[in-house]
Amino acid sequence: MDNFIKQYPYWSLTIIVLVAAFLWLVLAPWPPELAASWGRKQIFLNALLGGITLGALYFLVAAGFTLIFGLMRIVNLAHGSLFLIGGYLGYEIATASGSWLLAFPVVFIVVGLIGLLMQRFIFSKMEGEELRQTLVSIGLSIVFADLMLWWWGGQSYSILAPQFLQGPMELPLVSNFNAATGAVTWLRYPSVRIWILIAAIVIGIAMWLVLNRTALGTLIRAGVDDREMLAASGVRIQLVFLTVFGFGAGLAGIAGIIGATFQSLSPGEDTRFLLASLVVVIVGGMGSIVGAALGALIIGVAEQMGFVYAPTYSVVFTFLIMAAVLAFRPQGLLGMRR
């Protein structure tokens, strides 16, 4: 930290000013002039929170994608299909059993199992042929997409959040301040989204802890750095691969339930979330969990902000961020050059 400030004094100053301005925008009540040109503060806060919660969802999808990519060098373009399968299965389980929470472990296991089968019977047969693995995953995504269209049809599904998560909750953020009466209105926001954000943060921290503090995490990190050496030192690397693939797939499945809860599911959502995770890992850096979190946050917020303040060009924002990252830091913000 000190080193950074000493090395780049002007950059540090800019960053500090920007962070301060951002905090002021979030925490302080807006003066009327600002509200006149930018719209009400509530809109800004809603867009920001919407972006952060969307980023949480993107993170859940992209974390598995980036982990699989980092360890096995497989660009699994069927990852979006796993998301959609998870969402549909979650819908079936939640409506059949009436329990939203039960859907999570079941979907994690079932979709994780699909991932295990894919890795065991298809991808492991063509190890090292990266292009072929990618093509196979494209073929799988076409087949999955059509099977799901066959079974669940073209209409959209959404899962109802359970009773204790419905309705709004009050956040300690000022949404409006009446100078005359001194009354403060706090921001109200759907509680299910806040809880999903918290869950994503918990999952993210747990993944980070597993990766950095356990024996399994050591194996995975060693595999990311040099899988030949890891295999040569006697580790049964296929088991590590299977674990990671199953876990990543299961995570995508869980993200499917969450996606179905706060948005909806329909054919085509698989491509949307595949693309989101592609952009997230390109921006954040491939193979890095922290990078995926950062990328998901940036892309989610940019998408929602663009959606609110410049609806026509919201896609272009996302794309421009990606292009800028590619142009100046092709390995991604937190990616490592190999």
Partner: protein, 353 residues
């Protein structure tokens, strides 16, 4: 089979023969069939099946050029074709009068090729910042961004509905959308593109590009500008894609974001992979198979008692089978079959190959 047997023995005499004598008989047969197809085939076959095959083949050819010679699997080619098609619709006459400029064809066509080439160069320059499988991810993301952009932008791309009534110019008094005329137009364009790729493959640039594919570091050490070669390959490939895109707009008489969607981009990859990405002939064979499946899927599926909507399932499973069992596509299967046959012949006649 007899032709194949004689090729090695005739090889040393080949130099003394005229150039047209050196073309194998099979090529003559294919060429004659294609030239005289309008005599026997009906309009549906000429316009829908063959016209579409040549168009898809050309767009697939641009992917094959990048992937086969440059080692860059780009999912961008459909977007480039779409950009050229959109330019024809925007600059030339169309049914959307408040957007289309209605310029005449000799401005529109060069401008469409140029703008598409510019788009390809910029996107290619971004894509070549990374290597290998990353290229697929980045080009897919760019293609998706372009798709969503055309769908949301109304001032230039006319948003969701796109452009209709985009007709080819009445050049030389011929209605180029007439099935026979359109067939010959697509056939001529496809043939031109095919031979252009065959020529580039053997040109110094093509050889350097293949060198870059096989070993970029060595080529860089030899003094070749690796990035420039790759970006130039994107620009060159855009010509074939643009030709296909413009013909596609003329064939459908319309273009909309759906034409350049993500599934279309993946269809081009399917076409190129199924045909085989090693040789320029591959995409055309892949396109023919794809079009036949698409056009006759209703009959095939009905025969097996499935609903017509399962066309994508057939395509997906076929694609998976090809990738799993014959990574070189149908042409790879053909080569392997020929090699087996030759080996068996050599074994029975005792003729060392």
């Amino acid at each position: 089979m007899s032709v194949a047997d004689h090729i090695p023995r005739l090889a040393d005499r080949a130099e003394q023969r005229m150039w047209f004598e050196r073309i194998p008989t099979r090529w003559w047969v294919v060429g004659l069939i294609l030239l005289f197809l309008p005599v026997v085939a009906n309009n549906f076959w000429l316009f829908q099946v063959m016209g579409w095959t040549f168009i898809l083949g050309m767009i697939g050819l641009s992917l094959m050029f990048l992937a086969g010679y440059g080692g860059m699997v780009s999912l961008l080619q459909m977007s480039i074709a779409g950009m050229a098609g959109y330019m024809v619709a925007i600059l030339g006459p169309s049914g959307v009068l408040n957007v289309s400029l209605g310029l005449s064809w000799w401005i529109v066509l060069p401008a469409a090729f140029l703008i598409a080439a510019l788009f390809a160069t910029i996107a290619g320059a971004l894509a070549v910042r990374t290597e290998g499988i990353y290229t697929i991810m980045i080009t897919l993301a760019i293609a998706a961004a372009f798709f969503y952009f055309t769908r949301q932008n109304y001032s230039v791309f006319n948003g969701y509905s796109g452009f209709n009534l985009v007709l080819p110019p009445q050049l030389f008094g011929v209605n180029w959308r007439d099935p026979v005329a359109f067939y010959y137009l697509t056939l001529a364009s496809a043939t031109l593109c095919y031979f252009a790729v065959v020529y580039i493959e053997r040109s110094p640039f093509g050889l350097a590009l293949q060198g870059v594919r096989d070993n970029p570091r060595r080529m860089a050490a030899l003094g070749f500008h690796v990035t420039a070669h790759r970006v130039a390959a994107y620009a060159l490939a855009s010509i074939f894609a643009s030709a296909g895109g413009i013909l596609l707009v003329w064939q459908n008489a319309q273009i909309a974001p759906g034409t350049i969607g993500i599934s279309s981009a993946i269809d081009i990859l399917v076409v190129a992979v199924v045909g085989g990405m090693r040789r320029p002939l591959g995409p055309f064979i892949g396109a023919f198979i794809y079009v036949l499946l698409q056009v006759f899927s209703a009959d095939i599926l009905g025969f097996f008692g499935f609903s017509v909507d399962r066309f994508k399932l057939i395509i997906g499973i076929g694609f998976l089978a090809i990738v799993l069992f014959s990574p070189d596509g149908v042409l790879g299967l053909w080569d392997r079959w020929r090699a087996q046959l030759a080996a068996r012949n050599a074994a029975t006649t005792g003729d060392g190959a």
